[in-house]
Amino acid sequence: MTLDVARLDLRTRRRMLIGCMLGIAAYAFLIVAIYPAFEGDASLNQMTQDNPTMAALFGATGSLTSTAGWLNANLYANFVPLIALLLTVGYGAGAIAGQDEDGSLGLTATLPLTRRALLLQKTVTLMALAVAVPAVTFLCLLAGPAFDLDPDWAGAVAVTATTCLLAWDLGLLALAIGAATGSRGIALGVATTVAAAGYLISSLAPAVHGVHAIRWASPFYWAVGGGQLTGAGPLWRDIAALVGLGILLDLAAMRAFERLDVH
């Protein structure tokens, strides 16, 4: 199978992809580079201890000045997933529903491809987009040792992988909703709402008892909320949960796409 539709879709999103990669690279490098200035700042830790719920809301838990705490609070608990989701949810909503609304899907849907093959190419594109931001962030982390920032590298690889999968999953959710409804707006709305709810659940889980009990319902928990950066939990469990969710969503998207009337 050729990947012409995937390449076409990536080409049309090239500017946004490059922009997001440059943006997160600049931000991640800055976070790495300024770490020495905060590493000994006890007042930062005091802040999370004094107001743990508010801090948790912004993804900060535990020590902020430890390597893992610093990276989690400034990158993995918020900005990296956020920018990765911006790419994948946007593409997921646009890849079927958006292209159907603007009329370009009619051209690719009349190429000699089955709908399954076409959707598979959209899934591959989503994967490429999902990898971009976490991978660039990881590359910036490699500069860490030069700035006294020496994370648990196995944990860094793990959180990179799980963040990719998180972005892929939520992109697939948007893709599936878009294929089921043919509406880019509904796909964006539902996927964004699910992402926001998932973020809140995962962020508040460490600080709010009631939310802690349902933390497993959030894909954020399996990606960045379960101590992945420090290797606190079994990685295979997180990967299995996120891959399983992705496969289910992809199957749902495929079923919906096969039933969709393409304009």
């Binding site: 076409l8 603007d102 370009s104 009619g106 190429l111 709908r115």
Partner: protein, 313 residues
Amino acid sequence: MVRTGAVTATGNPEPAVRLTHLTKSFGPRRGIRGVDLEVNPHQVFGFLGPNGAGKSTTIRLMLGLYHPTSGTRQVLGLDPVRDHAELMRRVGYLPGELTLFGRLTGQEILDRFAHARAMTDLSTRRDLAQRFGAELDRPVRTLSKGNRQKIGLLLAFQHRPELLVLDEPTSGLDPLLQDEFAQLLEEVVAAGSTVFLSSHDLAEVQRVVHQLAIIREGQIVAADSVEGLRARAPRVIELLFPARPNPATYAALPGTELRATDSRRLVLAVTGPVTPVLAAAAKDGAEDIVARPADLDELFLTFYADKESSHDA
């Protein structure tokens, strides 16, 4: 697999397209209802109707883009959904509302689609690009509608498909290019292709089509060869009298419709024998007569007029 040149057990060529009682409902007054169509191979089939009549819906059903509410369809002997990939290898499609990828150049789009079709021979595309003067080096979003349409035509024709499905293909093309396009259709049909051409403009298609069907409000209201339809089309007869005639006398004649009247003149659309009109005109002492040959426009306008009157009712 049945090729367009295949012959049935009765010796008739297998239709390139066969739609049977095809229905697609979007609501009480939208979609198509019970469409039956057969398109002969190696011909240009004109599919006519006013905007919103159901032309694009029928085309999308033919191509497996839409799922029918009921009925069956077979295109080049294949099921458009089950055999979608195989069918699309043999079909070229130009959508009615062509949307290309705005940031890409025509060349990039054509190359990508050619690669997806595993094309190695790009000579047809090169020839057509030159023939239509297509601008392929600029981003599509900077091109005029006509220039975008040329790229759409190249996408449809570049792989030399057995069946071309063209939805309002000359939209945006200037008159010279419309002539060039008509000539291209003759060439591809002579080379063995079949063309399904939809339009709301009869003048555009009547010089190139062999068969045609007219769709109105989702239903086929006429389907025949051009000659067959021409035989059914009304002739326009204009009569000049020495004094004001009684229009009701003429309107009551069989197959006669009053088109216009003034103090001494009557314009009639006549379908069928003209003898009753001539007899009545002779009785009223007609001074002059002008008769135009049967024109498909008149037939087409009759369907439009029916639509208007049904709306009025």
